[in-house]
Amino acid sequence: MTRVLKQVGIVPAVLALLCLAFLVVFPLGVLFYKSFETTEGVSLQNYIFVLSDTRNLEPLKNTILLGIWTVIVSLALGVPLAWLVARTDLPGRQFVESLCLLPYMLPPLIGAIAWIQLLAPRVGYFNRLWMAIFNSSSSPFNIYSFAGMVWVMGLYSFPFVFIAARGALERMNPSLEEAARISGAGRFEVMKDVTLPLVVPSILSGMMLAFLYTLTNFGVPALLGMRARIFVLTTRIYSYVHRGDFTGIRFATVLSVLLIILALGMHWLNQQIIRRQHGAAIISGKSVRPSTVELGIWRWPIAILVYSFLTFSILFPLMALFLTSFLKAWGVQLQWANFTIRNYRYVLFEYPLTRKAIINSLVLGLSCATLAVLIGAILAYLSVKTHVRGRRLVDLACTLPNAIPATVVALAMILTFSGQFKVNLYNTLGILLVAYLAHYLFYAFRNISASLLQIHQSLEEAAYISGADRLRTFRDIVVPLVKPGILAGWALVFMPAVRELTMSTLLYGPNTPTIGVAVYELQEAGYFHIAAALSCIIVVVLFITNTVVKKVVRTLGRV
């Protein structure tokens, strides 16, 4: 035990654990307690009431179905695209990659808004085009449907699978494939018998992220599902919360406990996967780039397919958003007289939330990402590379808040940090920061753990044999090797934090609106055209931020 702590340094370890307790364990404890609390004392009454109501079982079923279908879509999109980008001579791979990562950068809320522009019954652009061409009075597409939710959710969660698969394909030890080729295996057999089994753990991990992301997403089912009467757990929880009394909030916490159980199951699965991955460490310290597959005569047909798909699914919605942002009102005829720049003038110079929101979100993103990798790195090391008792619990505590719907994390923070326990962060950026940290610590922790896992024990052992002590080994071997993981973790926290919506809607005060809140306020108020203008500005801001972050991360990673 003492040796282990010396290895990490006792002070940072204790600090990180305290942070974890403060950010996660305590608020969730309060929340858990509230789920049993009734006006007549502590009992199981809330659970009995919620679970005996059939109206709660339908959302449970929908949540799982939506998760499964979304994962199927993510898989179908993410794996082939990752392979094409990582391992083939597809023209413009860099460009394809940045298009695939675009959805990850944008809030699904903006995605849902954009797809509404295209596929809303009767007024969506595609539907209008169809009705004009075929002179029909009914419109074929309806984004307000289960299929619509799966489609948009799939588009916004496939980057998880894409990133995981591409990473594994790039890091893969090429000698394994070469060996198979030399032994006479065909290209297809190599892929089936060697490549796939090697990358499957990473893909499964990506799938789990996509599933969790869907499980806890609120914006898409709220905008697309609620009016089609399709409820999932998050929107059901939202309905409970918005009953306006505290009993509703308690019922919401009960449903959250259900979600936690689902998430625990996923977490356990992921643990099994990571353990298997550990068995087959595929990075062994050599840095040889895997060979490139030549697509031959398929090169251009595949390129055309990929580019038209990306145009349709990623560029068109953004273009629709852009078009709407210049309209006088939503749904008007597309004539010159109906175009205006008034929406932009309003958003930039009159709408009071815009400037505040952009500053707040950038401040929150920067501080949250930095603190998350600091805490996450220490905890990841504790959990992966040491044998401290209770390290599984650390892992669990990092994962849980990400698996709980953000709405509930926000509620836990309100209950905990509004002065009842001597800490009052209410209506400040502070409460948003603790909620973001709790929710996104997972990304930093998971990413750094994964890169720690991939460092084969042999590298550290080599250092010991050469006479280095543990600290020296940590500094000279571990840190440089996980540095890309740390930086990637930073970016992975920064981007969703900048565009966070769900927690912000419950936690923002008059001076602390965030980017997500500013857009949601407008869309929810029915100012679709103005919301589109603000969304466009935000897309630009996020695009610039993302490019800068990537540049910085890449530069730092090289040193």
Binding site: R55, E58, A120, P121, R122, V123, M226, R227, R229, F231, S239, V241, H242, R243, G244, D245, F246, G248, I249, K328, A329, W330, G331, V332, E350, Y351, P352, L353, I359, N360, V363, L366, S367, T370, L371, L374, L411, I414, L415, S418, G419, Q420, Y426, T428, L429, G430, L433, T505, L506, G509, P510, N511, T512, E521, L522, E524, A525, G526, Y527, F528
Partner: protein, 327 residues
Amino acid sequence: MRNVIVFSLALILVGCGGALAKETLLIYTSTPVEIMTRFEQMFEAKYPDIDLQVFRSGTGTIASKIAAEREAGRVMADLIWVAEYTYLEQLKAEGLLYKYESPEAKNIPALLIDPDGYYYGARIFAMVIAYNTNLVKDPPQKWTDLLDPQWKGQIIVANPTYSGSIAIAAAVLGLNYGLDFFRGLAANATTVVQGNSQVVTEVAAGAYKVGLTLDNMVRDLQAQGSPIGLVYPEDGPIFLPSPIAIFSTSQHLEAAKKFVDFVLSAEGQRALVEIGHYIPARSDVEGPAGTPSLAELVAMAMPADLHAVLANIDFFTDQFVKILLGQ
């Protein structure tokens, strides 16, 4: 790395520490953001020492926020201004409101003043039938006309768990027509969205032919040239005198009183007419062209006994959601 941390922490401090010089006044309201922004500017121009901070959302969200705040200690806001007057009755009954006799009270009709003196109806609007003028030549004239099969799939309405005004409307319609009215709407495949302003947007865009929504929002879109019209139903629009009140826990009572007085003043009411196309609460302020006066609106409104509405609003909200949303 250390620089980044120091920088981030500094930014957080700056973010938290700003705007402490003025007296801050926090209001929770469901007033649409565009209207509230301009109203805030006018108020702050008149009282430069007060920084009015606005948290805008549906009554449902606001009620949840207040519930959570109470659980955690105390209500943070100084003022509340929503459409759901029954919610203020609840707050009053729980002793959360501050009794205030505004000097402007003598200028507004007694029916807008809480007999116990805790709140004032200050933003007058009504639930009406809106229709798209390009698609509909013969709009429904009564609420019950909406149950005609010709409107199947063409009706849109807000969600009473989010919007306080549709919650009241659901209770009043339910008390007058029973649950059959909701069942009829459900049989006509009525679409439920979150808020009333979304309803007007969708009707104006032609995504739906008719909607149940607020008269002032329809006038707002009409002024912008949208193809939308409104009918005050023959069987009575639902009268909504959105009340304003001060919280008993407010630490800024004097500033809060100033805001209530401003809202009720001729100047404030004129601003609400101009910016938000509301019907004025005062007879000495002229209403938007071609709209009924407050007295006319009250005379034609669907009967609604405050106690009956108060006693039944939760029941009808639940039933509405159950029948129309299957929830």
